[in-house]
Each structure stands twice: as C-alpha cells, then as structure tokens.
Subunit: 312 residues, 2 copies
C-alpha cells in the first residue's frame, strides 16, 4: 500500500463531526472551538519495547495510545475533543493499521473524540498522538497546587499494570487487561475538577507522580494498607509487602491522584460513586517536605525506587 | 541527565506568553484561543535517515522540525501560535537537545510561537511536532478547490533541496541551506489566503502536491521554462532538462503552490512582493484530467516519477 492509500483507509473510518471544518486530508485540520472555553493540548508517544511489545495485538497498541493521552486530558479536568495521529511504521502493513485503528478509534468514539489529522512516516515503529480538549478556564486543575492539610485520594485501584509486567506471560487476564487496555478516567476528572486542589494521572508510579503534586516544602504521608487493590492483584500477590512496591512505584495505572480539603471528601466520593468508580483516601499532605509510607500499625515502610524515568 | 532534568532544561528556554494559561510541566497545556477564530492543528514527524542524517547538526534538525509544521499552518492561510514536541531520543544527550532547541526555538520565536508542552521517550530517534494555529473561519483555504481556468503559481524557487540531496557532499552551501533550513512561507500564506482558490505547501514534490490541488476531472498544464529557479540551482544544473525533474518531483521545497483566478494575479503578486517573495505563474488549471508539462517551444516534457511516497 502507498502512503496515500493508507491515509484514505484511515480517513474512511474517521467520524465526521460538525465541529470539524477541515478533517483528514488537508495540510492541517481546522476545528471550531466552543466559545468561552480554554483549549487543552497534550501529546504522548508509544515506543516499541518501551511501552508495548512486538507480540501485542495492534488493537491493544491503538487502545493504549488513545488511553495515555485521554488520561492526560482527564487529569486537567478537561473534556477531550479531537485527536491527531503521527504514525511511524516500518512497513505499510494495512492489517496492522486496521487493528491499530480498531483499538484507537474504539476508545476515542465513546468519548466523542474525532480523529482529525496526522502524519505517516516510514521508520522504526513510533506512535505519536496529539489530543486536544477544552475546559472552563475557571476550572483548570493544576498539578502543583496541593495544600498542607489536604487529603490524598486515588480513583480505582493501583498496581495491576505493574503486576502484569512483573508476572509477564503468567499474568492473569484481568491484570494484563489493565496494562494493555487501561480506561482513562475522563468522566471522573471532570466530576472531580471542582472538588480538588490538585490532580495528576498516575502514569510514572504513585510516588513519582505524588512528587509532582507537592509544591515547595510540602510532604505527604501514605497509609499503605489503604492502597486500593483489585481482587486480581490481591490473588496474585497475597503478601502485602510484595504488593505495595508495585502499587507505590509500578506506574501505568492511569488512575487519578488528587488532593482535596477534608470537607470535600464526601462530595468527591459521591461524584465518583455515581460513575461506579471508588475514590479512596490513602493519606494526607503535610509540611514535612518528604513522602512517608507507613503501615497501619504505625511502622515505616522502606521506600522502594521512586518511579519511572524514561532515561533512568 | 534524567527525563525530568531534560524537561526542566526545555522549560527554562520556553517563552511565557499571556495566552498560555498552563505551559510545560503539567499533564497538558491550557491555552487561551482568540474568540471568533477557528483552531488549526497539524502534526509532522522527522525520522532519522528519512528526513535528516545522523551527521546533521542538531540545530538543523530542530529548525527543519519546526519548518515543516509551520509550512502546513502557512498552507491553510493560518497564523501559527503554539507548538508541542514529542521527542524520542536514544540517549539523554543534553548537548544534542540544546542544539535541537537552538534550531527549533530559533525558528518558532520570530513567529511568536511558544513551546507549550510535549513528551520525552527513549527509543530510536523520532522528532514529532504538533503545531496549533488559528484562522478566520471565513478565510480557510483548502487543497482541493482549484477551478478550471485558474492560474497556477508558486512562491520562491523550486528544486534547491532536491539538488542538495542529489549532489550530497558536493552541494553548494546555498542549496544545502534550503534542504536543512527551509523558511516556511507563513506571512505569504496569510497574505494569499483571500486571493487564491486553493493552496498547498510543496513538500512531496510539485507534481505530487499539484495532484492534491486538483479536484475531480481537473488537470493542469505547466510551462517548465517558467519554473522559478534560484541562481545556485541554475549554476549547479545549467542544463534545464537535468534541472526540471528536480523542480517537478524533488520535494522538500516548502514553497506554497496556489491556484487563483487570472484577475487576482496582480494583487497576489503585489502581496508577495511586499514580503520580498516572488510569486511566479507556472501554468494553469484545465478540465483535461491530467497534468501536462510543456516546454516553451510547445513540446511535451516526458514526466518523471510523480513525487515522494513514504512507502513507495
């Protein structure tokens, strides 16, 4: 297949929405922003052998590429709207592309996100996604705005993706699903935006991302027994001291980590419950300047490695 | 250097503009669009050994990455505003990054384009850029809207970059400069938007990109003697029949190719002249359904290969 045949193949599957004035096939997309909203823009790339393996179904790669970007939009409390796709492919393999689009568009569609443009190159496999969204400029949630005295809470459960990586071929399907097909917390991000002082998605690992949440001089105390745990993780890692490192430093969770004033706890939890999603308080923010992990009996947990660094 | 040290290094060099509500360092950028304008979005990637060579100075790679994306915005008649950068690097080489930013920001700055976000991954070198701009929704210029009877015109000169590729190490500096440091025709794109019926940037080669300009049933006739030629190209390729293939099919020109009604010729040329840029009429649009290249004496030129295909 030629580059232009591949582009035609992608274009044939893209939505045609009224807010897309010019979509796939021109020099650039032209989009109609909603008046009064701020624009939100993010980009995240997936690299072979870093973020996915050659033996993954293409649909899982497509799903993950959409998910990691939707998760960044979610963490701003924003609404996702449009996607662009920069694919670098070693060969023009239309079956791989079709599978990739199954996963990518399959996750974009339920969020009404249209694929409006992109670029195809040949070279070592690299999946670049740009996601655009919008937000009420008065409701933007930053990372570094946690306050001493805030509670620390996280959506869903932690550690499943890290456990899938640790167990590799022996990982149960439920854990593998969380690694390859995470569900970005888009609705929760919008529901929580008015309730929280800071928000970030957990991609590099809870402790690493918590570090981004804490402004100058702030610290946090996490009660590790309170870390929300899926049944599949509890079954694969029944010993908590083997599970906690995965939950604290594993990454790839794509849950939302928030800080919030104690009097917002109930309303925030009620908003998440309405979405069928738990919001679990796991600790609090203080002025210690450090992150401390304690067990329910009050003893300190030895801190594992602080999270994921692409060049670490 | 760690990923976060590299990000801090990039952040320290980024502009801080009032229209950037949240810039580098959060989950996503938050931007303030200008009311009443449509949003324009494009993405283009540079791949090692495809778009640049390992021995290129990093600043040339940075310049080119910005240029190819700015050129797409220019071809919509739009104003560029913000950039995001998705860098996949084999190693965390801060000297390469500094050089890259010299070239990238050095071209973005004069257009008042701020770097507002991005992503760093480790893997085979891949430079992904997303560029956002805006445009009066009533003045969007499409590709496929040329009309029979329109003139065909192109900004600047054609063939220099292709000649630099053909001559490789023996290419004179003036030609090499056009390959590595093309100047996107941003001001010309905005100046021409109200004058033309269709516009595209010449990246794949004049004939290939002309194909995108022509709607169903349309054709074009190009007078090859009229192809605008730089002094450096004329000197390196004095024989026109060796030069024309480079100008027709070489690509990487990043000039603007437009179709326009004959009565717009003078005003369009005056607008370009005011920018110090020639706009040369090279042919016309007809209903032939084919592209014909003729010499000044009326004889047909054998058509070379139709342009660049990434998977061809």
């Amino acid at each position: 297949m030629t580059e232009f045949a591949l582009i035609a193949r992608i274009r044939a599957r893209a939505r045609t929405d009224d807010d897309v004035l010019v979509g796939i096939g021109d020099d650039a997309a032209v989009l109609q922003p909603q008046s009064g909203r701020a624009l939100v823009a993010t980009t995240d790339s997936l690299v072979l052998d870093r973020h996915f393996r050659a033996d993954w179904p293409a649909a899982d790669v497509g799903h993950l590429a959409a998910a990691v970007n939707l998760s960044d939009i979610a963490a701003m409390g924003a609404r996702p709207r449009w996607a662009l796709l920069a694919l670098t492919l070693p060969v023009a393999d239309e079956r791989w592309l079709d599978g990739f689009l199954d996963g990518f568009l399959g996750l974009c569609d339920p969020f009404d996100v249209g694929l409006v443009g992109g670029n195809l190159s040949s070279g070592p496999l690299n999946v670049g996604v740009q996601l655009l969204g919008d937000v009420d400029p008065a409701c933007v949630v930053r990372r570094g705005s946690a306050r001493a005295g805030d509670l620390l809470a996280v959506t869903g459960t932690l550690g499943d993706a890290a456990a899938a990586l640790a167990l590799a071929d022996t990982a149960p399907a439920a854990l593998r699903e969380r690694l390859r097909r995470p569900l970005p917390r888009v609705a929760a991000g919008q529901a929580l935006a008015s309730q929280v002082s800071a928000m970030i998605d957990v991609s590099d690992g809870l402790l690493a991302d918590l570090g981004h949440l804490l402004g100058h001089g702030l610290g946090a105390r996490i009660t590790v027994d309170d870390l929300p745990t899926s049944p599949a993780l509890a079954e694969s890692f029944p010993e908590p001291t083997r599970r906690w490192p995965l939950q604290l430093s594993g990454g790839n969770d794509y849950e939302l980590l928030v800080s919030l004033a104690p009097d917002r706890r109930e309303s925030a939890q009620a908003r998440c419950a309405a979405l069928g999603l738990p919001l679990t308080v796991i600790g609090s923010i203080d002025r210690s300047g450090a992150i401390e992990c304690i067990q329910a009996d009050g003893t300190d947990l030895e801190l594992p490695h602080g999270g994921w660094d692409h060049f670490g």
